[in-house]
Amino acid sequence: MDKLLNPDFGVMALTIVNFLLLVWLLHKFAWKGLIGALEKREQQIADDKAAAAQARQEAQGLKAELDARLQQIAQEAAKKMQEAVALGNAQKEQLLSETKQQAERLLEQAKAQIEAEKNQALADVREQVVNTALLAAVKITQQQVNAQTAQQAVDEVLREVSGQESARA
């Protein structure tokens, strides 16, 4: 069992030579290529990440620009809407005013026409009354009448006048 702890220097030397030779051969034929491929892949990933970050930054800038533009458009739309509302209100007021004026004018015309027709009617009535009075006076003067006959004559004249009025209507 003591041999377990006694190193064999020949085996030790062979181990060292074998291991160092293996390190050199694997470095030359395996690890160099693998490390190169790994670093290349990592570099590619880093480049892709950088490109993605840059694209993201650009997209964020573009988004901010579009947001600002959108806000500006919204403001312009709101302003134009306010202007349109104001214009509409002004046109509405103008139309109402014109309509009111026209209505008043028509009313005035109608009133004037009514007044004129009324005056005309009154003139006609007055003329008729005068004629009737003249007629009655003629009749009164032509015959001796008492109060009763005079009353009858007036009534007759009035009936004639009302007959003429209804016939005119």
Partner: protein, 253 residues
């Protein structure tokens, strides 16, 4: 043959060395296994580095890249800093070599060569040489010598501290060898002892031996699984400690 002799016979390496002129070449089960492991590793490494079109080839290549990335980000850079990247090949080889050496004993007719103090001693000497090389490379001769005296040490303590620090470095290298050797040897001995229990009890009574075989085999399976874990763990520990020791020399201030 006594039990201890049986265990020793199975564990000890037997030299069938040949003489090439005056040079003695140790041809043992361990050295043959070591050469076989080296060839397998070399072949695996070459296959991993090639990027063929087949799925297997691409899988192997990806596994190789992941292994290198693990060694770099999990062991070398944390232990040695970015300066350690130039020694990545050494650590990649070291881990796989120790791992395959630990696992080789699970294959019939092959040996766990890391249960041989000469093999672990050789690997520890390589690590020690790397420590010294890095000390000389990064600090120069005088700078490397100064790393053995911590900053702020009173001048009259230097004659005491300097030899202690040198011995500390040597002990670290020795401990690397002994830790790996002891862990792998003990596991091997436990496995062998469990098997021998069956034969010892069977020698006394065949019925008892048959009864003892069931728990012994259960323990044998458990210990084999444990050995599998220990194989990975010890390869990792040896590689990690080497990187830490080298890192301590590189970043001594």
């Amino acid at each position: 043959m006594e039990v201890s002799e049986t265990i020793a016979h199975h564990i000890l390496d037997h030299d069938f060395g040949v003489m090439v002129g005056t040079l003695h070449l140790p041809v043992t089960a361990h050295t043959v296994t070591m050469v076989c492991i080296s060839l397998v590793l070399l072949l695996t490494g070459i296959l991993m580095a090639r990027r063929g079109k087949s799925v297997f080839s691409r899988l192997l290549h990806t596994a190789g890249e992941e292994y290198v990335a693990f060694m770099r980000d999990g062991i070398v850079v944390p232990g040695m800093g970015v300066e350690g990247k130039q020694f990545l090949s050494y650590f990649c080889t070291l881990f796989l070599f120790i791992l395959f050496s630990n696992l080789a004993g699970l294959i019939p007719q092959m040996k766990t060569i890391t249960s041989n103090i000469s093999v672990t001693g050789g690997l520890a000497l390589c690590s020690g040489a790397l420590i010294v090389y890095c000390g000389l490379k990064f600090h120069g001769l005088w700078g490397f010598i100064k790393t053995f005296v911590p900053g702020g040490t009173p001048w009259w303590l230097v004659p005491l501290i300097f030899p202690l620090e040198v011995i500390s470095l040597l002990i670290r290298v020795c401990v690397l060898a002994i830790r790996l050797f002891a862990n792998m040897l003990s596991g091997h001995m436990v496995l062998l002892s469990l098997l021998l229990i069956i034969f010892i009890i069977g020698g006394m009574s065949k019925m008892a031996g048959t009864g003892a075989a069931i728990p012994a085999m259960g323990l044998e399976i458990f210990m084999t699984l444990l050995e599998l874990l220990v194989a990975f763990l010890q390869a990792y520990v040896f590689t990690l400690l080497t990187s830490i020791y080298v890192g301590l020399v590189i970043h001594s201030h």
